[in-house]
Symmetry: C2
Subunit: 214 residues, 2 copies
Amino acid sequence: MKKRISESTIHRLSLYYRALSLLEKENVVTVSSKELAKREKLTPAQVRKDLSFFGSFGTRGLGYQVAELRSRMSHILGINRDWRVALIGIGNIGSALVSYKEFARQGFHIVKLFDNDQRKIGSNHKGIVVSDIKDLEKELKEDNIEIVIVAVPATVAQYIVDDVVAAGVKAILNFAPINLRVPPEVCLRNENMSMELEYLSFAVVNNHTPKKVI
Amino acid sequence: MKKRISESTIHRLSLYYRALSLLEKENVVTVSSKELAKREKLTPAQVRKDLSFFGSFGTRGLGYQVAELRSRMSHILGINRDWRVALIGIGNIGSALVSYKEFARQGFHIVKLFDNDQRKIGSNHKGIVVSDIKDLEKELKEDNIEIVIVAVPATVAQYIVDDVVAAGVKAILNFAPINLRVPPEVCLRNENMSMELEYLSFAVVNNHTPKKVI
DNA sequence: GAATGTGAAGGTTTTCACAGCA
DNA sequence: TGCTGTGAAAACCTTCACATTC
């Protein structure tokens, strides 16, 4: 891969994948960049440019084969396989995520749960027994977990993440509202729901309308 | 306000606000753009440029007064007040959000709940009685709700949002994995947790490390 | 004719670097 | 001296427009 792929392009790949999944369900065989763009509020040129970073998937004069492009997208995104995910922190948000069906639908299977609360350790959530956070590093290694979701209080998130990194995990989705330190080879994404509400609050107060919504 | 403020700048305002709140708790009186940048993994120039869109808040040679800058940020973000928020869909994610303390801490108070499930309507969640989705438009208007969180299945999200828009709501946080149509004066933000996992999956498979993490 | 793929243009965001001020 | 505020430069991202292919 020569050129650096931008964060925005990667996000849009998810949108394309989503739109294509829907089109396939609607038994649509062929789709143009124009239609794809319309479905996700983008421009046709943007769609073509994004796809062109990864190859030439279309046919001039015709468009893209829905099934084929969807398969390609899933390969590029790495979701043409199942992922074993561990979830740390079975609190408020954590509990909701265990039952969140969208994850499994995309191949992200939560197969391991951790908490530090003695009342929760050993209990069963959706068929998974909650492990003691003390065994975090050991069990993550044993189970070859590649993606971890952190849903613990901000005050302890850094300690947890240090252990996660030590276990060799390369991807972390963090729900704690704190800036976490991770080494450069680890990919960290933050999901900060308060920040989204603050964006809305800013928009209402300043009468601001965003150009685009990713 | 002359210049258009970029989405990234607005997001970073939230980060500054968060860092400043922490600094204030640590009894730090003064902070430089360098320190602020370090705390949120940004650059000093970025911090100064972002702030400069809204005014000159610092003192050359010294830095910024923590308490004052925090207060300014809260005004700009519109979180120097309380917001009345309605939550639609008391499922998996919705239930977690009702109890999510971070929202109330930032002044976002969920004061209204809606669902279409007869077993849930009339029941009590954290002191709030669940209303019938049929009365959505009427009750949103009556209660002067300005921000709505949508946590319903993707299949019905557009119908719900149409009602929300009809009720005059100007800001929507959507958790359904679908591209929603709203008129230009309504600010819509999407929270798509699967997309974040897909980003991680892409990163692991392609050995990609993002430049920055917002 | 229709729609892709892509250099080049245009626009936006970030970084640089330094004048200006405490 | 130290650090802000900000034009200018650089980097980055999006859109245009058209040659190319079916």
